[in-house]
Symmetry: none
Subunit: 121 residues, 4 copies
């Protein structure tokens, strides 16, 4: 689980995205307990305060809930994995489109490229 992190994106954001991805991929389920703050901090080699920030932000995002003295859990919401899958897909798509535009490529070109990529396989 121990990866290196980018420099330019805050570590806590990157950890949040890791967890969002796990839920979207159904590797982590609604209602499931997340590691304690201390454990996750050890896993990722970061300070427990950083993990606390991760969990707190995710609470605000409605992804996890914290039960005092018991731990932090993925919220009990059946549609959460699908929701996150959509959100992340959207984000990746947006990033991709921005990069293509930065390269000076218009939407028609992008569409064609995507079509040819899919058709090829």
């Amino acid at each position: 689980m121990n990866e290196s992190f980018d420099r330019w994106r805050p570590i806590y954001i990157q950890i949040i995205d890791e967890i969002r991805k796990k839920i979207a991929r159904r590797d982590l389920h609604p209602g499931e307990k997340l590691p304690s703050q201390r454990d996750l901090a050890l896993d990722y080699g970061v300070n427990p305060n950083t993990v606390q920030r991760v969990y707190r932000e995710m609470e605000t995002m409605g992804i996890v809930e914290t039960k005092r003295g018991q731990g932090t859990f993925v919220v009990e919401e059946r549609s959460l994995p699908e929701r996150l899958q959509h959100e992340l897909a959207r984000e990746y798509l947006e990033e991709f489109m921005v990069k293509m535009r930065d390269l000076g490529l218009g939407e028609e070109v992008v569409r064609t490229l995507v079509e040819s990529f899919i058709g090829r396989e």
Copy 2:
């Protein structure tokens, strides 16, 4: 020009990509002189050896050529910008498709998403 770099991708690769992008975007033209190794090292806040490696690799890739005593130049090749534009687009597209697949999304879904994204604007 001073950006932060990832940790996991070698810095010299990242600098190469920056330069490839500049050419693809027509911010840098075939035949144009690149900054001296020393200057570019200062720009990016890296070791001059790193820049030397950047220029050497790009020479191998047929993107630049070094003229002893004069400096490093983008090769005189009219089609270079378009070529790099295509290569980079291809790379971005692969990255994107990998991420979507990792999310468990098939090609049909991706096609639909791209269509709706383009249609929307």
Copy 3:
């Protein structure tokens, strides 16, 4: 400005309430700049991190906005003071009613007491 704080309510919550009160009382206006994190920390005799948490939470609450490198400002929203005045009044009322209920006093008694209090003056 330096007061002592309760023990049982987190300091950051108490500072937030102080600021909310100032806005509700029109001592602080929409668009006005708040002290820097460091300054407010000195004013209240707390750690700058605590003030940062205050400002971050208030950002989530839609009360302030932070402009990087410039500082933290009360949001530009004409109706904010009135909104906060209502929210705080609601909170005080709720607290009061809970205390009265805890004392075993029903709503009719409370109504009578309030009436007599107001009538008296």
Copy 4:
């Protein structure tokens, strides 16, 4: 029974209020024996001297009486619970009205808020 206390109100006052509340709520009755000074000190995690002061002040207030060698007792006065209930209610009401006034809210507004709160339930 172990609660945290404010900082700005003397602890002995807070303990007195706790006991007054218990009598007002009929959790403690006229004639009933209070815990020994030592026991109450342990309950609240305070110094026995503090409890002694609590009992002494409450004696002055006519709420308890100390019988040498036997301990401290709530006074034998049928109307005491009702009396304390009224006194405390009065105190809470004043506090509440002060807070509302501080918020810039007049008595008419307070009346309306109270009415709507009661009506709602």
